[in-house]
Symmetry: C3
Subunit: 131 residues, 3 copies
């Protein structure tokens, strides 16, 4: 089963917790066991699974990525957002989470985040449930 939803990212760089939205799709599909794929159809936002317990960590990670890929670098891309593309290349556009009895097998500290690197924007999230 395949569903999509949209979110408005609030700032240039943002961590948007989409765990609840993904879990809702898993529930709606009515399938007991399987694996859910979360896919981001954009090239300057990615998706990751990380800790949901300490918000300052997200800023640490964002700053570390900015240090690796500075926004104002010597780039030839026709837009000014080359650094955002680079972050997505490393983070990736999808994650997969197995689920059992309708519950994703996320660890105690894990949440699913859409990571915005060139916001604010309206972003689409595709969720696919496989057996």
């Amino acid at each position: 089963m395949n569903k999509a939803f949209e979110i408005e990212t609030p700032t240039k760089n943002a961590w948007c917790d989409i765990t609840r939205r993904v879990a809702d799709v898993v529930t709606q599909c009515g399938q007991a066991d399987g694996v859910v794929t979360v896919f981001i159809p954009h090239t300057t936002a990615g998706v990751t699974i990380q800790e949901n317990a300490d918000a300052p960590l997200q800023g640490d990670i964002s700053r570390a990525l900015e240090r690796l890929f500075p926004w104002h670098g010597d780039y030839r891309h026709c837009e000014d957002n080359a650094a955002a593309h680079m972050k997505v290349v490393l983070m990736g556009p999808s994650v997969q989470v197995p689920f059992v009895a309708g519950e994703m097998l996320l660890g105690q500290w894990q949440a699913i985040y859409l990571c915005e690197f060139d916001g604010p924007r309206r972003r689409r999230v595709v969720v696919h449930v496989s057996p």
Copy 2:
């Protein structure tokens, strides 16, 4: 359904658009909805999904990765291509794309690329279609 194809990468570092080849496998499988996994059975080439509209961006990304993992670093690997392995560790060996009515749900600007980091070589691409 599972299919594989091969491509010749042209240069040391190369971005090879394999979107059409992957889409062909999705069409051949005759399945309406599902998710396609693209898997690279190599350790010095990876796969990513990125913008297909501005070729200079690909050079920007390749140069940024070269800056993070210089080819001539202080490595102990028995070959000279440690940096290529490092890039694959971060990029990853697979991507997944959901499809509906036989069409991959790629965004407007997205294409699937095999990224060569130690070419030119003949590379194999495995494509698996799941429900």
Copy 3:
């Protein structure tokens, strides 16, 4: 089919080859063809597929990641392991490998590794087999 196993990682940073354990799950499921998802329900250990033939390469990669994300950085995370989280963000928490006739289509040099970045710890590995 869904199975999980646990491993004890031996050191702060470690590469733990889990290929055999994953292959065993594929064999047990009795399914001929499909794709296996390996998912790590932790935020300071990841999973990757890399060369199994030259152990010094693993040290090269670990040192390169340490250079990008130094353990003693200027971080605001409430624990001292922010760098470990950063490495997982780039490496990712899951890999997918297609299999045919019960055999994963790994390349000649590929093995599946749980990468520990904040050990030693007991880690859980979730393996899901899809059609």
